[in-house]
């Protein structure tokens, strides 16, 4: 029986930070992809493998998700995540999450323990507490690199209010 796995860490314009951290990015992607593949070889179901590897990517501050998330215009953290199981078409998503340490684990709670498809904002944060998902203070998610990018963006926008907002 065939098994296979792919992961990504985002797509978009190149930048100085990426060029300066190429090796760290590649080492992290390789390590996490190999971990996921080993889980598949041991017979773990695809749904728990993709949930595990994305929570590892969320924990890595190099990537724009979980710890290392980009800051919004106000300098706040608002995270989105979703999960879907091809076996039974069950799915769950969360949006504008500010507390769950791993938004993907919260999305999976929506998939398994809610009659809804998507929970957002305060409702999603409260659901994390109800479902005993680990929550942290939102300062946990903010990295020096994202703070620096936010300041740069704010200055640019200040000088040029019509500058396209990041992304």
């Amino acid at each position: 029986s065939k098994i296979a796995l792919a992961i990504h860490g985002g797509a978009g314009p190149d930048n100085e930070f990426i060029r300066a951290n190429k090796k760290q990015y590649k080492d992290s992607l390789q390590r996490i992809a190999n971990t996921g593949y080993r889980m598949l070889k041991k017979g773990e179901p695809a749904i728990s493998v993709v949930r595990s590897v994305v929570s590892m990517l969320e924990d890595d501050p190099l990537f724009n998700a979980g710890r290392g998330s980009a800051l919004n215009k106000d300098g706040d953290i608002e995270m989105d995540a979703a999960i879907m199981n091809g076996a039974d078409l069950s799915a769950g998503g969360v949006a504008l999450v500010t507390r769950a340490r791993n938004p993907i684990l919260l999305a999976d709670q929506v998939r398994r323990h809610s009659s809804h498809l998507l929970l957002a904002g305060v409702g999603a944060d409260n659901f994390a507490v109800q479902q005993h998902i680990p929550t942290v203070d939102c300062g946990y998610f903010v990295t020096e690199e994202q703070r620096r990018a936010w300041v740069e963006n704010a200055i640019k926008q200040d000088h040029d209010p019509y500058a396209k907002s990041g992304g």
Partner: protein, 131 residues
Amino acid sequence: TVGAVALDQDGNLASTTSTGGTPGKAAGRIGDSCLIGAGCYADNATCAISGTGDGELLMKGLTGYSIAMMIDIRNMPIQEAAEQVIKNNKWEGDIGIIGIDGDGELAIYFNSQRMHRAWVDKYGKSEVHIY
């Protein structure tokens, strides 16, 4: 944004996507990563897809579901379906996807300057790239 797609020993597919969103986004802006059918989709009958890039494009184009429909209705191989959907999308901007089908065929495609990606294919061969 980060994501994963996988095919397990029982032939089941799954997909996950997670993001901090677009840097400098307006408060309250929701992206494609949490929308089933846009940045995240999985159906054993067609494929599992995780998307990234300019979220507004993946939302307007329902990228994940569109790729699955190209496979289902036109019987297109997954890589070709991914390329068709991204090349033919109606708006200017960055889109990247990773995908996998029930035969373990992978689809990796992006139109941006870079996409951080790694995979282990059905032959056990692994690769990792940024550009």
